[in-house]
Every structure is written in structure tokens, then in C-alpha cells.
Symmetry: C2
Subunit: 107 residues, 2 copies
Amino acid sequence: MLAKIGDKWSILTIMMLSDGTKRFSELQRGIDGVSQRMLTLTLRGLERDGLVTREVFPTIPPRVEYTLTPLGRSLQVPVIALGQWVTANLPELEAARRRFDAAAEEA
Amino acid sequence: MLAKIGDKWSILTIMMLSDGTKRFSELQRGIDGVSQRMLTLTLRGLERDGLVTREVFPTIPPRVEYTLTPLGRSLQVPVIALGQWVTANLPELEAARRRFDAAAEEA
DNA sequence: ATCCTAGGTTACGATTCGTAACCGGAAAGG
DNA sequence: CCTTTCCGGTTACGAATCGTAACCTAGGAT
């Protein structure tokens, strides 16, 4: 269960949906590097876990909107905290990696 | 980066290390279902990112202790929040899954 | 006729994961 | 002696997952 919620795409998707309902293409544009397939799979997983709702408008071309459920909104709090921690500490994480990799180089 | 930090085993490991230094076997016993290999890989990843330190005591049999760095301790706050959310909402998540799977059954 | 749209599925190669076996060297038990 | 036990780690290999790219739907616009 933790595996799915801690998942990279799930976290980014929940962060995206935190400021309101979004359609599929908006999410795809907003989440850097996500493929159509991965976004579809992620959204299905979140829907399955009762975290988002999926609403289809049968127009041509189709329109699909995703919204956080109350349960999803309650998850939004810790998820955003985690996301912010990562962005805030990204430079330090990358520096640590460079140090580690450089030290491992001396083999 | 998010991928590694949101990772299931990383989260559980950081939660384990939150109440102090632990040795390898303690972590393995405390983290339900983790294999030796996965724990090793997870700890190396956390060490690489500067979140834990690894200290080897060259005795026979060997002893290895893992400790959260200051950076790791700062991550501990949002990670524990996420972990607690999951355990608190586990019943509701499982219920949602059952509903979703039952509805999908009607094909 | 052809292209464009938005969301989704399929096929397939590339990673990653998990299980299980094995390793080290000293020390304790038979 | 010979075997077993200790702990942390590595290796091998099959299974699951991920990511890229192609294709699909059907109507409206060019």
C-alpha cells in the first residue's frame, strides 16, 4: 500500500490535483516527464484506492476530469509536505550523491 | 529523486531509524517483509543521498550500524506523517479497492 | 480526402524487484 | 577434527514493472 502511495507519479499527481479539478491533458502537461501510459496507470490506481474520482464527458474529442475525493484531500497534506521537503533539499541531496559517487570511484 | 525517497522500503527504513541508531539485523527484523537484498540496496541508496551514515565494526561476526544524518532527521518529519496517514487510513483504502474491483468485475 | 483533437490501449525492450543460494572467518559444540 | 552458528553482504535468475513508441476512436475543420 505504501508502495503505491509513495510512488513518484502518485505524489506528483496528488500535488497537481491539490489546486482543483484537472483534465488528463492538463495533468500530463503539468507533471514533468510523465508518459500517457504512466499517467493513465497512476490515475487508475488512485481511483481504485478512492483518492480521486474520474468523470468522463462523452464529447468529441473526449474530455475527462479528475478530482481529489475527501480522502484524497486528507492525503494531500502529508504528500505536499514530502514534496516540498524534496524540492527544498534537492541541492543538498545531489551534492551528497556526487560526494558518494566520487568516493566510490576510488576502487 | 522523489522516486527513491517515496519508495516503500526507504520510508519504512527512515521510520525505523527515527528512534535511534540500529544495526542491520534489527532493521531487517523490524521492517516486515523486507529481504536482505532490498534492505541492503535501500540503505545504500539512503547513504548515497546523505540521509544515513553507515558504520562498520570489523568484528567476527560483523556488526554494522546505521544512523540518520541531520538531513535524514529533517526528512523524518514528513515521512512519518505520510506513514501515519497510511496506517490510519488503511481500512478505508482497502474498502475502496474492494468496491472498485467489484464494480470492475461486471464486464 | 486528410489532418487534428483528447484520452486510452497495445506491443515490446529495458529496468527493477524478489527469492534463494552462497560467502567470509572466528568461535562454540559435538 | 568436523560441523554449526553468527551477521552482513553479494550473486544468479525468474518475475513483475517501467518507459517508449505506435495505433485506435470518431467527429469537425482544412
